[in-house]
Amino acid sequence: MTWLWRRGRALVVAAPVLWLGLFFLMPFLVVLRVSFAEAVIARPPFSELLDWADGLLTVTLNLGNYTFLVEDDLYIDAYLNSIRVAFVSTLICLVIAYPMALLIARSKYRNLLLMLVILPFWTSFLLRMYALIGLMSPTGFINSALALAGIGPITMMQTDFAVYAGIVTGYLPLMILPLYSTLEKLDESLLEAAHDLGAKPWKAFLTVTLPLSAPGILAGSLLVFIPAVGEFVIPALLGGPDQLMIGKVLWTEFFNNRDWPLASAVAIAMLALLVAPIMFVRNALGAKE
């Protein structure tokens, strides 16, 4: 029996491990490998790392791609700007999502309201971004309405504002849902106790609700922040030409410069830059709990 049990467990674990190994680890290793190659005009357009000739195995690692990232301040600026945009968007999402999540968690129509939060996911992400273009373009919905009132037109498209609007509308549900799930589990008797002990509502919020919802805040923020850093579609569709984001830089390297190795190095560097601080935050919070 134990033998069967153990075997069953191994099988259950094997499926996700195999999946991650095949579709996450392998592509990552491919990208890592390409990042140490050199761009060539051939198919595929990068050099081989291993060379076997006359019984001699040569490994050529081109570190030039990584040093190039430091030499040209374009890449560092793009990283910093991406992190800034992602950080600000996450903050905006948090500020909007928190009261919404709180309201939903305490409402008697929570199922309906939750449904409304999830509803946008039923429409393609790309379509929602195109809808925003229709809303914000110079002859779009908002400007047409303003024109009736004799105001405008206001330039919204191709600005930072449009990018923030895009990221916030796109990712807001990802912030609301984890917040809701922690707030919903919050024991209301704790708030009653705080009230009985003389805490004003805002004090009860700051000392009871907010700290207890920290895991939701962290989860929601990571869900918004991480994809926002590497976001390509939103800045490409809504953003201005002067907005330097790493997703666009990566596109240029890959498609315009046809430099797959450098594009891979950009991606690996971004991963390294993001994973370290995020692991740190997670561990710090985990230790506290």
Binding site: A39, I41, A42, R43, P44, P45, D72, L74, D77, S137, P138, T139, M157, Q158, G240, P241, D242, Q243, L244, V249, T252, F254, F255, N256, N257, R258, D259
Partner: protein, 374 residues
């Protein structure tokens, strides 16, 4: 499992793979090709009945997919095993792809209609494809300026220099047009040569110094440019969201048609400036790993038929390179100097050069600097 069921299963599997997943088809060509063909062409770039007619004539079932940038096509080709039998890269891209060994040589004995092709144009494209071994011209056009007639007049007066690149490249004009909206193709290989040409320099210059001069000019007008994008402007010109665009000829005509259809009072015109403009060629070629090269040759020959080529031009408003087709093309199109330039204007047209990877990087770095203003 007996060897008989084994091979039957294998046959069923390969047949399934062939009909559902072109990417999985083995590269080895079989003697008798299946009557299917996979074509990968630009979006909005063929007449409505071309494919239908070909299917009816030959019994070959065509799967027709579209792309909207050379970069996307090239990335697919370089990764290999696209499963496509015919792709349509633009000249300079084709040149590099030939160098990378992406395309097989054409078997001209299967292409009798190649006699219809304009020798002058075929000679021009030999710069990309020596001796025209790998490709034939599908359509060609120019990269110049599309503009909103009323809005430009409003901003610059009746004597606006619509016959010159100065309309955009003169910072004073650009500043006045900024409010109604300037857009440029997001393609340094198209815009930087135009800037060099406007400055009176060699449009094909690849050296750092020349590219820096073009960069300086483009940076001057960058604050007045609303965006750099290679397809958005079709809609925006038609809606009146932008008023001047550096764009591809046929796309501007499409914008003009859309504005006409919408009947929104927007009048769009296309101008090939007197300083000259870039002349580009979209080329039909067969990848080395194309699963159905026989059928691909049949399709190429079909596209070079005078009537077929004329029908396509009448629909997409791009010039073909087929001399026999010219009399069959709508006179409205052949008389439009934006599509079929006069002999004199033709002399001013220049073709794009093939950039090596170092020049590519210079060009794209300059372009990023222009776009981000740094």
């Amino acid at each position: 499992m007996t060897s008989k069921t084994h091979s039957a299963l294998l046959a069923a599997l390969t047949a399934g793979a062939a009909s559902f997943a072109p990417a999985l088809v083995p590269a080895a060509a079989v003697a008798a090709e299946e009557p299917v063909l996979y074509v990968y062409n630009w979006s909005d770039y063929i007449a409505e009945d071309t494919i239908e007619t070909f299917e009816a004539e030959t019994g070959i079932k065509v799967t027709y997919d579209v792309f909207d940038s050379n970069e996307v096509l090239e990335a697919k080709l370089m990764a290999g095993s696209t499963g496509y039998d015919i792709v349509v890269p633009t000249g300079a891209f084709l040149a590099r792809q030939i160098q990378a060994g992406v395309f097989s040589e054409l078997d001209k004995s299967k292409l009798p209609n190649i006699a219809n092709m304009d020798p002058e144009i075929m000679e021009r494209v030999a710069a990309f494809d020596p001796e025209n071994k790998h490709a034939v011209v599908y359509m060609w056009g120019t990269t110049a300026i599309g503009y909103n007639v009323a809005k430009v007049e409003e901003a610059l007066g009746a004597d606006a220099p619509t016959d010159s690149w100065g309309l955009i490249f003169d910072p004073e004009n650009a500043a006045k047009l900024a409010d109604c909206g300037i857009s440029m193709l997001d393609a340094p290989v198209e815009v930087i040569p135009a800037a060099l040409n406007y400055l009176g320099m060699d449009p094909g210059a690849k050296d750092k110094e020349s590219i820096e001069k073009a960069e300086a000019l483009l940076k001057q007008i960058a604050p007045h440019v609303r965006y750099y994008h290679s397809s958005q402007y079709i809609n925006d010109l038609a809606n009146g969201d932008v008023c001047v665009s550096i764009g591809w000829s046929g796309d501007v005509f499409q914008a003009r048609d859309r504005a006409d259809e919408a009947d929104n009072g927007v009048e769009i015109a296309y101008t090939v400036p007197k300083e000259g403009a870039l002349m580009w060629f979209d080329m039909l070629a067969i990848p080395t790993d194309a699963p159905h090269p026989e059928n691909a040759h049949k399709f190429l020959n079909f596209l070079m038929d005078a009537q077929v080529a004329a029908d396509i031009t009448n629909y997409v408003w791009y010039a073909n390179a087929n001399v026999e087709a010219t009399p069959l093309v709508d006179p409205d199109i052949t008389s439009d100097p934006g599509i079929y330039p006069t002999e004199e204007a033709k002399k001013k047209l220049y073709t794009s050069v093939v950039y090596d990877s170092k020049a590519d990087r210079l060009l794209n770095r300059a372009w990023t600097a222009v776009k981000t203003g740094r």
